[in-house]
Amino acid sequence: MAIRLEKINYIYSPGTAYEKHALKDIDLEIPDGQFLGIIGHTGSGKSTLIQHLNGLIKATSGKLYYNGENIYDEGFNLTALRSQVGLVFQYPEYQLFEADVFTDVCFGPKNLGLSKEECEIRAKEALELVGFPEKYYHQSPFELSGGQKRRAAIAGVLAMRPKVLVLDEPTAGLDPKGRDEILEQIRHLHEQTDMAVVLVSHSMEDIAKYVERIIVMNRGEKMLDGTPKEVFSHYRELEQVGLAAPQVTYIMHDLKECGLPVRTDATTIEEAAEEIMRSFHD
């Protein structure tokens, strides 16, 4: 068990006119090596939630354990936690600042106090993991394309060799090709290393295709928690809170209504196609 949250509450600007109860009694466990998706509407508390995972913001009340240790305890090493739980923010390319990509990726390991050689080994490894082309290693990060910038930024976090990688909307603002590439790369990463991955997104298709487990956030509360099939079977409830199941879920339901004997729990296009073919063969 890697991360465990107990009754986490978070209130923004308490005692002012802008007070907002962003998280309400969140209980959550993220086991080692899991590929977890978090979905929810804008303002549902997703981003607030993931900033708790590496102690960037401190819960107003509740407990957070990392490998059994309460991170809010006096003397807990938060810097060590941050190297273990790597957090990639939305639009991470805006955090790039060095004169070239390679030095920027070295920033994380350097902060961990590693030697120059070790930093470079890790930076190279991280850049390779995200599929960043070697010819751009020594270019200014500001001259790259959107997709490459984002790769460089993700590598900047990976270079710390985290045990848990948290990504907040890693595909926001990318074109369909860039989006698929980044997501495939993340899946590849998850398979290659024993890292747990937490993927925040509001695209049901992306989530359904890649993750093992989905958490649905709504108004600061955990609404649903389960495998994609379980979660998307509640598609009416999802709609009520302004979300939706993947489009194939609707197609399967419509097909069934039209009399085709298909199961309705397919969540990806491939599964749906297989299921439809099967129904014709039976």
Partner: protein, 274 residues
């Protein structure tokens, strides 16, 4: 973390004061500030206190928000009080410790100075608490309009002000985001000596500047795309028009000023307790 910083903040509430025309609030605030300096008697301060607290009450802004603004001037306030207390001579000598003397006049001046400064901040922060930055710049633009004749680019100045104000929360949020992103990458912003700390700011300042320029560029494009070409011939969606309540507010403030001036002229110092 950085969200706690509040500059020129607005306190949303539904009150008469919030609904007043920004011009009224600017002019009346100025009058109030002047009123603090045209008289120097206990009665005058009592009237100013009643007036100020009455307006604060009407504005529905909690008193503790207004008092919070005083934190910024604590040092100036203490400096003024101490300087006045020890350096002003006149009247009876009250205390004598070594080379320090406190005279009656010094005590009086320092107390009055403190009250003036506190009311000055309270009065002006009441204005920013009840007026959105945009309304404020609108008001300033309209008030300064006559200066156009002297070829002062009033509209452009007001536009720059409103853009600058608009960008404060955006850049604060951006700074917060970048700081968090760098802390997540293990950046240490809080320990070390001054040189290390300054160096630690580089990973925050570079992305912040890049983003500020990008945003400025985007905004300029968006404004040009909507044919913005300065103030000439530009009309307002919500033109400022004086209403009954605005006239009433002017009336009350002028009445208050008259009372204060009369008090200043005819009530002598002697009402002071000492």
């Amino acid at each position: 973390m950085i969200r706690d910083i509040t500059i020129g903040q607005y306190y949303p509430a539904d009150s008469v004061i919030h609904r007043l025309d920004p011009r009224v609030k600017i002019v009346c605030t100025l009058l109030f500030l002047i009123s603090l300096f045209v008289q120097n008697s206990l009665l005058g301060y009592a009237i100013a206190t009643v007036f100020l607290f009455w307006v604060i009450h009407a504005s529905k802004v909690p008193l503790k928000f207004i008092l919070r603004g005083l934190k910024a001037i604590v040092i100036i306030l203490m400096f003024t009080v101490v300087m006045n207390l020890f350096l002003t001579t006149g009247g009876k000598e009250l205390v004598h410790i070594g080379f320090l003397h406190i005279y009656e006049k010094g005590l009086r001046t320092s107390v009055f100075m403190a009250v003036r400064l506190i009311y000055l901040i309270m009065g002006s922060s009441l204005m920013t608490f009840t007026t959105t930055p945009n309304a404020l710049t609108d008001g300033i633009e309209k008030l300064l309009h006559p200066l156009n004749k002297l070829h002062v680019p009033v509209h452009e100045v007001a536009m720059m002000m409103s853009i600058a104000l608009r960008f404060i929360p955006i850049l604060l949020e951006e700074t917060d985001k970048i700081m968090k992103a760098q802390i997540a990458r293990g950046a240490d912003l809080e320990s070390g000596n001054i040189i290390q700390r300054t160096k630690a700011m580089v990973p925050i300042l570079v992305p912040l500047f890049v983003s500020a320029f990008r945003r400025a560029n985007d905004l300029a494009m968006a404004m040009e795309a909507r044919c913005y070409n300065g103030g000439e011939g530009r009309t307002k969606m919500k033109p400022l028009v004086y209403r009954k309540r605005d006239r009433a507010a002017y009336g009350i403030t002028i009445l208050y000023m008259v009372v204060i001036v009369l008090v200043g002229r005819f009530v002598p110092f002697q009402i002071w307790i000492f």
